[in-house]
């Protein structure tokens, strides 16, 4: 009984912790498949000054991934 209670505690997410945006897991794969990796790297480096999207804050990461979704659509053939 106690064990079940502790398990529930483990899954509790404090209110002050912002949820990490649910990144489309396949977005990077889709960008790579569309031969747009250079554009991903260019925007990430020039505008966000990091080399890995994982280094961005949740808000910035969300914003960057939004731009990448638009990139994919813009080059859709």
């Amino acid at each position: 009984m106690h064990y079940e209670f502790l398990k529930r505690l483990d899954s509790y997410v404090p209110e002050h912790v912002q949820p990490v945006p649910a990144a489309p897991a396949n977005l990077k794969e889709a960008i790579d498949a569309a031969n747009l990796t250079e554009m991903w790297d260019m925007i990430l480096t020039l505008d966000y000054s990091v080399s890995d999207a994982e280094d961005l804050s949740p808000e910035k990461r969300d914003e960057f991934l939004n731009v990448m979704s638009l990139l994919l659509k813009a080059f859709d053939r």
């Binding site: 020039l46 638009l70 990139l71 659509k73």
Partner: protein
């Protein structure tokens, strides 16, 4: 009475920039792009990125290429707003929300993609969120590759709004 057409788009040509007739921001961006080696193009774009919009090299149905990046201080963000520049769930590439403006501006992108930077002036009425505005702007469109050996091309757009008036 002096009348003028509602919409006027004209190419001024890059010679106008070289003669010093363009807005200083346009001029600086043009000089930077044209004087940079192709393998340094990204670094030369960096200081201008906040004022740029970037779009693809695809012109489906002869429409301007869809936009994927709108700089924080770009004329398009100023004109069309944050909600337009940051759609919550993008389903298509961004397009300017005024179909007439979209149609009239296509020629500049076509010329840039044919290989010569396009520099022009436009004066037109636009509709944004149901409101009518009269806007005058100059714009430079350059087609670039992200690196020397890249197969990819994209358009960098720098627009400077000269006048913006709400009309009724």
């Amino acid at each position: 009475m002096l009348t003028r057409p509602d919409t006027h788009f004209s190419e001024l040509g890059i010679k106008a920039i070289e003669k010093g007739l363009a807005d200083p921001a346009v001029s600086a961006f043009y000089d930077s792009i044209m004087s940079t080696d192709a393998d340094q193009i990204q670094q030369s774009m960096k200081p201008f990125l906040p004022r740029l919009s970037l779009c693809s090299d695809k012109m489906p149905g002869n429409a301007p290429p869809p936009i994927f990046y709108v700089g924080k201080e770009s004329g398009q963000r100023h004109l069309f707003g944050e909600d337009w520049a940051n759609p919550a769930t993008p389903t298509f590439g961004l397009r300017t929300p005024d179909p007439d403006l979209e149609h009239a501006s296509a020629d500049g992108y076509r010329k840039a993609l044919e290989g010569t930077p396009y520099y022009g002036y436009a004066h037109t009425k636009i509709q944004v969120n149901g409101e009518l505005f009269e806007v005058a702007f100059e714009r430079l469109i350059v087609a670039v590759r992200p690196s020397l050996k890249s197969d990819l091309r994209f358009c960098a757009y720098l627009g400077v709004i000269q006048d913006l008036q709400r009309t009724f």
